[in-house]
Structures are given as structure tokens and as C-alpha cells.
């Protein structure tokens, strides 16, 4: 087992190197560089810049160097824990991300909990009452949640919350708390704003989770051991939760791999629409403005979390389900 973990950890190194190359190439793929998009943005507001100044900035940012040299500067910096410099914010990348990571984790955690709380009971009900009115009804609602574009739902809810409850539009707290230290009122204000993104991001996830859990459970419910349990007189709820549900949870553990990066990145588009102070909008705007070190380092960070997440979920799966064995790799 130890050897397995070690092997997995070693494989991560070439994986990350390849990912970093891919990330860098893809970010560099669109024509132009950060300064081109910077000029374009200024121009759209009517501003102009002296071309001499742009040339000077290009030198300052090192954008006049060949691409491979830029890559090595960035990659070797990351090895030393320096994630590079954001052109857009004129700050080191770590400082740009700093605060936002906390809030992102908070939004994502609440969303995950919301999704679970909603999805599990519904899926259990749907599976045990297959093809009943309740099953169809809940499935219908779930599909609506999945089919409605998130951003549309977000805008409608924002408007309603503003008109009926007087919640300020967008953001994670009332603007007046933005520059204040944390206190009870601020916390309440955050909760007032938090439910919209949580519900919006949660609805689509919920539907997907309901369907998968329902399908997995249905596979299990007709297996002989369930019938045996029933024959032995195990109470229905215990019978459901103790065996079939545990077996049906494999997909759920496998999901943890993707959960880790999504905790940090959040739902980007919804975050942009709701103007949440999370990392999603930063990533999107960095990609748009070709703020390459910011975007690149952030994507690298996500890639790292994904790899670690997958490893963790693999290990968890092996621990949870005795049927899963490391046969393939261990025999080599």
C-alpha cells in the first residue's frame, strides 16, 4: 500500500509538468498578449495610450521575451513557491487570491452541504418509490433545476430578493460591511446573501446527484441480500441505510476527487453574474485579459488539487469497499 502511494506521488511530478506546459500553451494560444487586451480595453472606454509607453511596459513585463523563456521563468518560480506576478492587479498572485479563497471555500462548502441535504432524502425516496407520482414529481423538479440556466435563475432571484427582502444586489454582504472587520451583523449579512448562490449553484448539482444515487440504489435494491434482510425482518429504514446505500455510495466517494478543486474555484459563471468576491471571477477575467501568470498559477493550483483529490478518493474507495483491490498496479 505504501509503495502504491509512493508510486502515485511520483507519477504526479511528470503529470504536473505536462499540465503546466499545456496550461501555458493554451493561455498563450489566443493572438496577442496582456498588453493587447489592455489597450483594447482602454480603447473601448475611449482612452488611448502612448505606443511608446506600451513598448516600455512590454519590456517591463518581460512579454518581449520568447515564449519558452517566459515559461521557464514562470515554472522555475513556482518551484520556489513564487507564483508570479499579476499584470492586471500589479500584485503578486498570492496576494490577489488571498482573501478570496476563504470566501470561496465558504460558499462551496455551504453549497455542497445544501446539495447533500436535498439530494439524499429525495434520491432515497425516489428509489424506494420508483415510478410513483412522488418519484415523477421530484424528478421533474430536479430536471427543471438542471435545465434552467444558472445565471438566469441567479438574476431572477437577485431581483426578487432585492424587491421583496431589500437585500442588496450581488456580492456576499451588504456593501457597508465590506471594509469592516468580522462581527455578528456582518455574519448575518453574509448569510442573507449566501442563500442565493447556494441555491442557484446547488440546484443543478442536486439534480445530478439525485439521478445518480437513485440509479445506483435501484441496482442494489433488487439484489438478493436486500430480500434476505427483508425476510429476516430488518426494519425498512435500517435495511435501506445499512447495506444498499453504503454500496451505492461508491460514486459519491469518487466525486471527492473533483470536489477538492471545485471548493477553491467555485462556480465561475454564477459567481460572475452574482459578482461574488470568490476566485471564479478572477480566473475568468484573468483568462480574458491574458493575465497569464495569474491564470496559469491558478489553473496549476487547481490541477494540483485535482490530482491530490483523485488520489484521496482512490484511497478512500479502497478502504470503503473491500471489493476494490489494487490488483492492476501491484502485480507489475
Amino acid at each position: 500500500m505504501l509503495q502504491y502511494i509512493l508510486r502515485r506521488l511520483l507519477i504526479m511530478i511528470p503529470t504536473l509538468v505536462v499540465i503546466s506546459m499545456l496550461v501555458f500553451t493554451i493561455i498563450k494560444l489566443p493572438p496577442g498578449d496582456y498588453l493587447d487586451s489592455y489597450i483594447a480595453e482602454l480603447q473601448s472606454q475611449g482612452e488611448t495610450v502612448d505606443p511608446k509607453k506600451i513598448e516600455f511596459m512590454r519590456q517591463q513585463y518581460g512579454l518581449d521575451q520568447p515564449a519558452w523563456q517566459q515559461y521557464f521563468t514562470w515554472a522555475s518560480g513556482m518551484l520556489q513557491g513564487d507564483f508570479g506576478y499579476s499584470f492586471e492587479y500589479d500584485l503578486p498572485v498570492t496576494e490577489v487570491m488571498g482573501d478570496r479563497v476563504t470566501l470561496t471555500i465558504m460558499v462551496s462548502l455551504f453549497t455542497v452541504i445544501f446539495t447533500w441535504l436535498l439530494a439524499f432524502p429525495i434520491a432515497l425516496y425516489s428509489a424506494t418509490h420508483q415510478y410513483s407520482w412522488g418519484d415523477y414529481g421530484l424528478t421533474f423538479v430536479g430536471f427543471i433545476g438542471l435545465a434552467t440556466p444558472n445565471f438566469l435563475l441567479a438574476l431572477v432571484m437577485l431581483y426578487m430578493a432585492n424587491v421583496h427582502f431589500g437585500t442588496s444586489i450581488g456580492g456576499l454582504m451588504d456593501p457597508r460591511y465590506l471594509d469592516q472587520p468580522w462581527n455578528w451583523d456582518k455574519f448575518v449579512s453574509v448569510l442573507e446573501h449566501l442563500w442565493i448562490p447556494v441555491v442557484v449553484i446547488g440546484t443543478s448539482g442536486t439534480a445530478g446527484m439525485i439521478r445518480r444515487l437513485r440509479a445506483n440504489l435501484l441496482d442494489e435494491l433488487h439484489k438478493p441480500y436486500v430480500v434476505t434482510a427483508q425476510a429476516k425482518g430488518v426494519p425498512p429504514l435500517k435495511r435501506l441505510l445499512k447495506y444498499p446505500l453504503r454500496v451505492a455510495l461508491n460514486f459519491f466517494i469518487a466525486d471527492i476527487g473533483s470536489l477538492l478543486p471545485s471548493l477553491i474555484s467555485g462556480a465561475e459563471i454564477v459567481a460572475v453574474v452574482l459578482s461574488l468576491p470568490t476566485t471564479g471571477p478572477i480566473l475568468i477575467s484573468a483568462l480574458q485579459s491574458q493575465d497569464m501568470y495569474l491564470a496559469g498559477s491558478f489553473l496549476m493550483f487547481l490541477a494540483m488539487l485535482t490530482i491530490v483529490g483523485v488520489l484521496i478518493s482512490d484511497l478512500l474507495l479502497a478502504w470503503l469497499d473491500p471489493r476494490i483491490r489494487l490488483t492492476g498496479g501491484a502485480q507489475k
Partner: protein, 696 residues
Amino acid sequence: MNHSPFTRISLTMSALPSAGRHRLLCADRLVRLRRLLSAVFAVLVTTLLMLSAQTSLAATGDFQETPSLQEAVSKGELPPVAQRLPDQPLVVATEGTPGGRLTTLMAKAKDTRIMTVFGYARLVGYNKDLELVPDILQKVDVEEGRIFTLHMRPGMRWSDGEPFTTEDFRFWWEDVANNQDLSPFGLPSVLLVKGKGPQFEVLNQYTVRYSWDEPNPDFLPALAAPSPTYIYLPFHYLKKFHPRYLSAEKMEALIKKKKKRNWMGVFLKYGHPYKQDNPDLPSLQPWVLRTEAPAERFLFVRNPYYHRVDSQGHQLPYIDEVMLDLASSSLIPAKTGAGESDLQARYLQMDNYTFLKEAEHRNNNRVLLWHSGTGSQVTLYPNMNCQDEEWRKLLQNRDFRRALSLGVNRHEINQAIYFGLGIEGGDSLLPDSPLYRARYRNAWAEYDPAQANRLLDGLGLTHRDSRNLRLLPDGRPMELIVHTTGEFTEETDVLALIKDTWQQLGILIHARPSEREVFRNRVFSGEACMSVFTGLPNALAHADMSPAQFAPTAQDQLQWPNWGKYYETSGGGEPPRLASAQQLLDLFRQWRHTDDASEQMQIWQEMQQIYSNEVFSIGTVAGILQPVVVNRHLHNVPEHGYFNWDPQAFFGVYRMDQFWLDPDTPAVVPASTDQNSSADNSDSKAGKPASSEGEP
């Protein structure tokens, strides 16, 4: 009328640039005589005004302490107002109550620079009537349009209380502009006349002089621009980041600490006054930044050393704090409608109007309608540098461009998309500009498909295919891709209407949206033969403003990127291949080398004549309305104005430092109009001699 004696003095001085030491050397005696007379006149007027200034200063003599600063003053943390102001502050004819906080919404942290634009404290700046008047400077003497003597306000201070002197000008000139590392590409273009920079002299602690060999009419407008050319920087603060004033090892440590490539990176990070991103950088603007980035809201607080006072002796700005809240740009209209902004125009569009108006009664807002100041909202640019040879030949042909323009039904566009509220016509100046002539706007701008077809037939484009499209000489059907940035739905709507009417000419267009950078690069490379963007950036120009927008002078002019690049980079790109474009460029060069107002005026007229006659860009509808949402309690915001970048600087020339909040009484509409119009009148009265006598 005891207001603004200083303004008037300064106005007169700048109005008579030819005053001062004229030697009788040049040949033209008449001009000399006129200048001599005006010089004598100027001295007389100045003396008189000086006297009246003295008396009115005595009358309004004592300044009133700003309530929000009272505590700091009584504790001794801040000197009293009389000591904070320069010896002769700029007195503004307005009244109001100081205090309060104003919130406005912006989309990005980089938007903090908008406070330099809104604040609009400039060495010289435009007033509402777009005349150049001294602002931070007490006066400017201009001789022969080439020797500029800048007189600062003695006793003026930076926002941190340090004196603002000629040392700050010297620092910029010696250690920034002429520093090989910081400015490897030399002086800013506006400081170069035929490639040569000015001679810089410090005359005394409060006077500097820039002299060129030939007139430089771009100099003062560049200082007044929304994004001004800074010719001064706070020496006492920035010397901490400059190797000339810092030992090598300290500099080394600093670079390392700030994680920059070299010392220039450090210097530019901390010494960029336009960006307003460094809370420690001393400023001369009405409000200075308090918040360190990154943040979701940026607080700007009043500059206690600001150089303007109102007629009651209150130091400006009236508003204590300005708050910039960040929100994604698509949410800004919704947030504004929810009453979360006290003053908002940026990121609002005409199609938000109904929603904002509906929200007006729910919140404490009112929605004003200003105008955009561009020559035409949606404008088609035929690219003279198009790669496709057949198309390039046609697009460079005047008759072809005229036919295209005649084939646009501007009335229909105006009615269908702009509620009939716009001004129809070609891409030209607006009626509010003194240079406006109806004939330029109407040139080739009436909808006349019959004549357009005749013109096209005359070009030999008579063959048609089965779809009734005309054929190019090489046999391809005339299908044209029109590139757009795809950011404004209105562009697509207008294009749909144009597509219908051009089809009657036998030309089919397809709109193709692309990302802004890609869009620009396609136009620059000539891959895009036609593009859509907004029209002339400054359609409210005066003769003393640069007519660069009418001539191929910059690469980002979408009708001739390569010809523009030729001028901009002195030799890149290619020289204009059309006689008319070359003529425009020659006229522009001529404008740059004259200081004579009537000649400037004549050049402007000639350039407009050529430009509109040649139809270098195809305008549709101008004077589009811009919603401006204003808190009901915010006074002094004009009912009508132009929300435009250059030269208005958005709220800049309307002087945001004079806006004030009264929590008790809402700004009653007629009253504030009166106030503004009276201020307008006094300004223009004071300014009249300027326009009649000619500007530097």
C-alpha cells in the same frame, strides 16, 4: 459677482497668449501691432482685475473650516484651512454644504483610475464651455505658441501637506522623462515638435518654462486631457524609489522585497498618479485613495490641501468621501436601479433606461439623460488597408464609399433603435461644437438608393449574380464581412437594418463578432475589410483642440490603421496612398505648427470638408442619450451634459468637486438647473475673450 476673481485673471492671461516679451523681429508688422495692442490691453485688464481680486479677497477673506476636518484641526493634527490652501486659492462661483459620502459602482479594481478622470484637477483644464483655463496652475503665459511659462500657486501643497514646487517638475523632467531606464523611448509624443523636445528651465520656486523651437499646440490640451500627460511627480515621496537618491544596496533590497524585475518596476508601481492605485502617493486630486488593493470597495477621502474654494470660503470638494464599490459590469444597472449608487453613468446604457426610470420611485434616485459626445454611435469603417485587392481598390474609391453611405437609411435606424431621439447624419461634429456645419453632417447622408445604384453602376459594377448581388471585377459576388466587437447588441441591430438597405444596392453584408483584441488585430492586419465601432471620439471639438481624429495619425483608426501607424511610429506601416488622406495629414501637421486661431479654424474647416466629402467613415446616428442616475439629494449635477471621455473627462469638466449632498432637501429640478445655468453664464462671460482672441 464677487466670485472667482482669480479665475478671471487667469482666463485673461491665458486668453492673450501673445502677451509678454515680443521682440520686433518678424516680418509681419500687422500681426505684431495687433499682438502689441493686445498685450497692452492684457496688462491693463490684469491690473484692474488684480485690484478687484484684492478687494473681494478682503471681503470674503476668511475661509471656513470643513466640519469633518474640524476635529483633526483642533487636535493639531492638521493645520487650519487658511494654512492648507495656497496663498491664492482658485475661487469657484458656487455654494453648497460640505460633508457626506458618495457611492458609485465600478467593475474592476483598475477602475480606481476613474477618480483621476472624475476629479479632474489638472495643471490647466477645460471648463464646461471647453475653454482651457488654469486650474492647479495660477496662470500660463504663452509666447508665440511655443514658449510656455507655467506659474504655480505659491503655498500650494500635496495631499500629504508637503509643498508643491518646481522641484516636482524638475524631478519629472530630469529623473523620469530624461532617464534612460525609465523612459527608454524618450519623451511623450506630445512633447515632441518635429522630433525635438522642449528646453526646460526652472525660473524660481514657483515658475517653470518649457520652450520649443516651433509652436506646440498639443502641449496644453495634453495637460488637460482626461488621462493627462504628467510633467510633475511628488519628488519628496518618489525619491524613495529612485536610484539617484537611494544607495545601490537599499535599492537592491527594495527590488527584492517588492518582487520586481528591476528598479523601474518598483518606481512605476508606486509612482503612477493616473492609476490612483497607491494610497501613499501624494496627489493633487480632490479625493485621494485610502484603500490598499486588492479590495472590493475603494475609499477615497477628501484632499485637505485641495486648491479650490467656493464663494462662501468653503474648501472644495464638498463631499467628504467617495466610495467605489466593485460589481460585475452586467450587474451595475441592476444595482443602480436598487439605489446602491449615488452617481452612476458608466456601465449604463440607453436600453437600461426604462428599468432605471421604473426603479426611480422605489429609490432615492432620479435618472437624467445626458448625451454621448461621439460623432456617430454605430459607425462603419471601410478599411483602406484591406488585404483583399479587389475590395481595397473599391474601398479606396470615393464614389464607392459615397454609395455605401447613401444606402444607409438613418431615419429608420433612428426610429427603430433610438426612439427617434438621435441626430441622423454622417460621422462628423455635433451641433454644439463651434466648428459644426450642417453641410458636413448631411454630406452623402440622405437615404437615396437610386443615386447609390447609379454611383455603383458608374464604377462598372454592373454584372449581377442569381441573387441579384453585384459582382466584383474578378467575378466574386459582393459579399462583405463586417467585423464587430460583439459587445453591444445595438451594433448588431443597426447592422441588420443596414444589411436590408444595402441589399437593394446589390451588396450583402454579414456581421461577425469577435473578441476585442482579435477584432483590433484583424483590422490592423487588413483581414477585416469593414468594421463597426463608435465614431469620432471628440465631436464637440474647438479649433484649439487637435484635429488628429480626422487624419491618419494612429493605428487604432479603423479606416486606415496602416497609414495611421506610419505617422504614429514615424515610419512603420505605410504612408497614405490616397491624395485626400495625405492632404488631411498635411493639414494636421500644419495645425500642429501654428498658434494662430483663425488659421487653426480654417484648417479644421478644410479637414472636415475633405473628411465628410470623402466619407472615410460611414456614420449613422449621433447624440445618443446616456442615462445618468443621480441621488435625489445630490446637488449641482447639471441636468444636461455630455458623458464623454475626451475632452469632457466624463464628470470632470462638470466639476464633481462641486457636487454636494444635502440629506434634508432633495435637489429640486428647476432650482439646480438655474444654479447651473448661472454658473455656465458666468463661466462663459469670463471665457469670452478667450475664444475671440485666440488660444495658445
